[in-house]
Amino acid sequence: MKRFTWAAPTFYIIFLMLPIYWLLNMSFKTTNEILGSFTLWPNEFTLENYIAIFTDPTWYNGYFNSLTYVGINTVISVTVALPAAYAFSRFRFLGDKHLFFWLLTNRMAPAAVFALPFFQFYSAVNLFDTHIAVALAHCLFNIPLAVWILEGFMSGIPKELDETAYVDGYSFPHFFVKIFIPTILAGIGVAAFFCFMFSWVELLLAKTLTSVAAKPIAAVMTRTASTSGYELGLLAAAGSLTIIPGAFVIYFVRNYIAKGFALGRV
């Protein structure tokens, strides 16, 4: 039996790779070949679809827009979550448990419930169609997540570290920046990874809050699919390109992924 244990993960990975392969396969085909015949690999290999994306500003700006708001969101979420997670891991204060549960509830709020009010709210404060609006809206589910992950990492660090630093005459801000943050760098990496991930994959809110100037790549795709007929090749190429940033990020944090998922109360 031991000899065949590799079978399950192998088949599973093949199953995971098939749709991705099909997407890549299609992105290198011409529209004629896609619609005309069923081929397992491109017969007339073409980079046309990718060239179309890299030369058209509506397409490549979509990528910049997405990366911009994801970046802003990750920075905001991790920055404000750091002191909060420290407070939850070190101190007991009035309403701390309720506050923690309230944060958790925001992770459970369906985006569909918030789509319309967000649209009205951000229009009212003149932030509609800006990167910052999407970045702030995504804080709704990313800040709670970052707080949990960081709290998990911080609780694993003994309190003696703090106490020794105070005895040595460090002031609190000095201790926090110079000693504490470097100690939990791995935790910050994992938290940033999850914020990046959830902001990158979310579309409903991002689409609702933007029209032209900050439109995410994923929304550009749906618009193109519906207006200029069904250009499957172009759609496939754009889709393939959205996989790349995620793949990069996974590669950098691969040693922490499993740990990050398991931490504390995610």
């Binding site: 007991r92 992770r107 319309l116 702030l136 804080c139 709704l140 795709m221 959205t242 996974i250």
Partner: protein
């Protein structure tokens, strides 16, 4: 836990988080509550309606149908993904270069934007030019997810299994890899079978991460919107219209703000209630 000191000033550290999340959560939620009790005939004139919309939604057959579809979908997802994820995590290599390869490849679907997942499966499952659709049809199955409800359900479920089982795998794997080597050695000395090792060592040790996995999969599958919307658009007919899709149809498609807001709140309450149950059960377990 007992080493925490009481310090009310800690509120200052939490304040930025509270302000930002409240800004995002409370103000929009109040808007929803506001709409849920009012009627409008346009021109921003509103009338107070009390609980009329709530009664209407709770008695509407459309809501019952979407809720039933949602519950069916979520149960099927949990029944397939949790055991499958655990089985794969248990058979994964524990050390060596293959661990990284497996983890990176498995995490890949989790980082693809949700509508790209939908579009990808849309292309993959097309009956004439998609790999899955073509293969099934040439094997003799009558498969067309744009026309037949059964095919559509099959595709939506397969897509979700593809998309999210890895989350369960990663969680379960993290649980398994935290088991000390000594446990396995002890089991070996006692001559335990591999089933006994799974049943009495690995599953109990994974209990905590599995609770998290079930909770996360429950919440996310209950809120699913983008992937089925891109894949099937809720069709054929209304057969794959889950709660979120129905809600967006009512709110942004028909602009029936009152019923949509009431439905939002009921929807949110259902998730909150079920998660609160999970959360308290989890905490109770930890206190033991």
């Amino acid at each position: 836990m007992s080493r925490k000191t009481t310090n009310q000033k800690a509120w200052l550290f939490v304040l930025p988080v509270v302000v930002l999340v409240a800004f995002n959560a409370l103000i929009p939620l109040m808007t929803v509550v506001n709409y849920s009790v009012q009627e409008t005939f346009g021109n921003n004139v509103f009338f107070f309606e009390g609980v009329k919309w709530f009664e209407e939604v709770l008695h509407s057959e459309r809501f019952h149908a979407s809720l039933l579809r949602q519950l069916t979908f979520t149960s099927i997802i949990l029944i397939i993904e949790i055991p499958l994820g655990v089985a794969i995590a248990l058979t994964m290599p524990r050390k060596g270069p293959w661990v990284s390869v497996c983890l990176v490849l498995m995490a890949l679907p989790l980082l693809i934007p949700w509508n790209v997942v939908g579009a990808m499966w849309n292309i993959f499952a097309l009956p004439d030019i998609g790999l899955l659709g073509k293969t099934l049809n040439s094997m003799g199955f009558d498969y067309d997810y744009t026309q037949q409800p059964l095919s559509a359900w099959f595709t939506v479920i397969l897509m979700d299994v593809w998309h999210w089982t890895s989350l369960v795998v990663l969680l379960a794997y993290a649980g398994v890899s935290s088991i000390p080597e000594a446990y396995y050695q002890a089991a070996k000395i006692d001559g335990a079978s591999s089933w006994a090792i799974i049943r009495y060592i690995e599953l109990p040790k994974m209990k905590r991460v599995l609770t998290i996995a079930i909770l996360l999969r429950f919440m996310d599958s209950f809120m699913i919107y983008t992937e089925p919307f891109v894949l099937t658009g809720g069709g054929p007919g209304n057969t794959t219209t889950f709660l979120s899709i129905d809600l967006v149809k009512i709110a942004l498609g028909q602009f029936d703000l009152g019923p949509a807001a009431a439905m939002s709140l009921i929807y949110f309450m259902i998730i909150l209630l079920l998660c609160w149950l999970f959360y308290t059960l989890m905490m109770k377990d930890e206190e033991k």
